[in-house]
């Protein structure tokens, strides 16, 4: 087991190393790597029980993210991290239903698209100009996604099996895509919709978007953190481990899942709206895109489902990698190859993801120590239960 995990870590390091020659082509790209490493390391350090260290590390990470566009101001550098932050928000939000309860939604791109179309349609119908005001409309995208999530969650969670939930959510994504193509009076079909652009000058253009995405990412992670440590969150985790048992000890499982589903739709909707605004034009196939769901799920898998850090780490690794690959190899689809390989590596060697693997290692050492100490003071026979580790 131990050597296998080491192998997994080294394989991931290898994948990243393969990316490095590509990165070396530009200092801005190097900046991305430094940034990602800094974030990753500080978040990993944060994953301890000690509160103060957690807050300190989170603060360092946020400070690094704030400083980043001033240090690496090229459009390319900020664009890559803009997308990475967007996916940090999306994956962390998805994690509230997918990771905490284990109900894997493969249709969260539906909310992404709903947010995107909301901002495009509202700006169009109300004749809003591009500018800071549209960021407020992006928030509306989240509200709309949340409202749509109510009937969607109601239907998807009717049957109490995860399998049916997964299938229904996939169906949602394609239903919305079809509607996007066919409700031509509203969506303009496959010709897509434009979003009015602000008249910010070239070098400055990315900055407001970058900080909007950063704010969204920070708030979403804070939301996930809050939920994880609330009574509600404990109920969600209980559902993941054993839904019947959870119901048997008083968790209103249906309401818990439903609330988690609706909550998790909101940040994804906002992210979709920010994406639409940033990319200026949307089509059904770009915002109701199965690739979005794949990216979310792979980010969460890679980092570790159900942990707070996992989706952040996963998104911070995957998104820049995908962006850079697409940037340097064109639309040849090498990013899909990377996704495929990573999926296999994660499932084969680290099925629980990076964060749980690392944490489990640290925790095992600490718990064994604590149990041994307790045994010594109580004078109990040494107990091997903690080390049994049937996982």
């Amino acid at each position: 087991m131990k050597s296998f995990n080491l192998l997994a870590v080294s394989l991931i390091a290898l994948v990243l190393a393969l990316l490095l020659p590509l990165l070396a082509l530009g200092t801005s790209a190097l900046g991305v790597v430094v940034f990602v490493l800094l974030l990753g390391v500080s978040f990993l350090a944060a994953y301890r029980d000690e509160r103060r260290r957690t807050w300190l590390s989170a603060l360092i990470a946020v400070a690094a993210a704030v400083a980043y566009p001033f240090v690496f101001s090229s459009t390319q550098a900020t664009t890559i991290v803009f997308f990475a932050l967007l996916y940090v928000a999306i994956a962390s939000s998805w994690n509230i239903i997918g990771g905490f309860t284990g109900y894997i939604s493969l249709g969260h791109a539906a909310f992404f698209g709903l947010g995107a179309y909301t901002i495009a349609l509202v700006a169009d119908r109300l004749n809003l100009p591009g500018g800071y005001g549209l960021f407020a409309v992006a928030l509306l995208g989240g509200v709309v996604a949340g409202i749509f999530a109510v009937p969607m969650g109601f239907i998807a969670l009717r049957l109490r099996t995860i399998h049916s939930f997964v299938i229904v959510t996939i169906a949602y994504l394609f239903m919305y895509q079809l509607l996007g193509y066919n409700l031509q009076g509203i969506t303009n079909g496959s010709s897509g919709l434009g979003v009015p652009q602000p008249n910010w000058s070239g070098a400055f253009f990315n900055t407001p978007f970058y900080f909007a995405a950063l704010a969204l990412a920070v708030l979403t992670v804070a939301l996930a953190y809050w939920i994880r440590h609330s009574r509600f969150g404990l109920g969600l985790l209980a559902i993941r481990d054993d839904e019947d048992k959870a119901a048997g000890v008083g968790v209103d499982t249906w309401k818990h899942k439903f609330a988690a589903y609706v909550i998790s739709a909101v940040p994804v909707g906002i992210a979709g709206a920010l994406y639409a605004y940033f990319s200026s034009y949307i089509y059904p196939q770009t915002v109701f895109d199965p690739m979005i769901d794949l990216t979310i799920v792979l980010s969460a898998f890679l980092g570790g489902m159900g942990t707070l850090l996992g989706p952040i780490l996963g998104a911070m690794i995957l998104q820049p990698a995908q962006q850079l690959l697409t940037y340097y190899t064109g639309a040849a689809g090498w990013d899909l190859v990377l996704f495929g390989v990573l999926f296999l590596v994660v499932i084969l060697l680290m099925p629980s993801g990076i964060v749980p693997t690392v944490v489990e290692r640290m925790r095992r050492v600490r718990v064994l120590e604590a149990v041994r100490k307790a045994d010594e003071t109580e004078g109990v026979e040494p107990n091997t239960a903690a080390g049994g580790g049937a996982r």
């Binding site: 009574r231 985790l237 000890v249 008083g250 968790v251």
Partner: protein, 244 residues
């Protein structure tokens, strides 16, 4: 003594199989009642019907005179009826302490979103873990406990909600004799504190040792009830077990 739990004419059909065919009996306040019967006689289905995991096709279940057969499991739990499962079940990836905290009295989802577990609840949970002798494993993931420790954790978990009635599905199943004795001891002790018990168990020695009353089921019906001695002598019971 009055009936705290009453099952009246409960029927449940799964496809072509009638698992419960008009099952009636009652559990008296403050008693330890055991439910026995051959495999497939409907004991677990009855447990599920009483605790809301299965909705009866017909019949009623009354808790202190109020019908509960349409309520969901979490509501029934909130009314003071707790249960354990036949196969030992814990929240494997939560710590032992968190396992117990899941079961602390719950408010609405909205309140749950705003609240964290209180220190007093943590203290109470730790107290219960000490009561079942697994306090030192509080931070260990529950999945890595031994089978017996998981059983003890289940008991601590169910106790934290301060149930008035506990339904235990095979508390002594798969446990060594020493541990069986300990579990029987705890049941008697808790019964002394006023908790009513309904226990499904195959271990006859265990059943006869702790029960005030025994209810015998066969083929989805109650075929006999009474004190352990009465039931032991009942020819219908022997017939059901030996399959005359």
């Amino acid at each position: 003594m009055s009936a705290v739990l009453a099952v009246e004419g409960v029927r449940k059909r799964f496809g072509g199989l009638e698992a419960l065919s008009g099952c009636s009996f009652s559990v008296e306040e403050g008693s330890i009642t055991s439910l026995i019967g051959p495999n497939g006689s409907g004991k677990t289905t009855l447990f599920n019907a009483v605790t809301g995991f299965v909705t009866p096709d017909e019949g009623e279940v009354h808790l202190r005179g109020e019908p509960i057969q349409r309520l969901t499991p979490d509501r029934i739990y909130a009314r003071g009826l707790g249960r354990t499962f036949q196969q030992v079940r814990v929240f494997a990836r939560l710590s032992v302490l968190e396992n117990v905290l899941v079961a602390t009295s719950r408010s609405s989802v909205a309140q749950g979103l705003l609240q964290r577990t209180k220190q007093s609840e943590r203290d109470r949970a730790m107290e219960l873990l000490r009561y079942v002798n697994i306090a030192r494993l509080a931070d260990v993931p529950a999945g890595s406990l031994s089978f017996g420790q998981k059983k003890l954790l289940e008991i601590a978990t169910i106790l934290v909600g301060e149930p008035k009635i506990l339904l235990l599905d095979e508390p002594a199943g798969g446990v060594n004799p020493t541990m069986t004795g300990q579990i029987g001891e705890k049941i008697r002790e808790l019964n002394g504190q006023g908790i009513t018990f309904l226990v499904v168990e195959h271990n006859m020695e265990f059943v006869m040792g702790i029960s005030h009353r025994v209810v015998v089921m066969a083929r989805g019906k109650v075929i006999a009830e009474g004190s352990p001695d009465e039931v032991r002598k009942d020819p219908k019971v022997l017939e059901a077990y030996l399959g005359a």
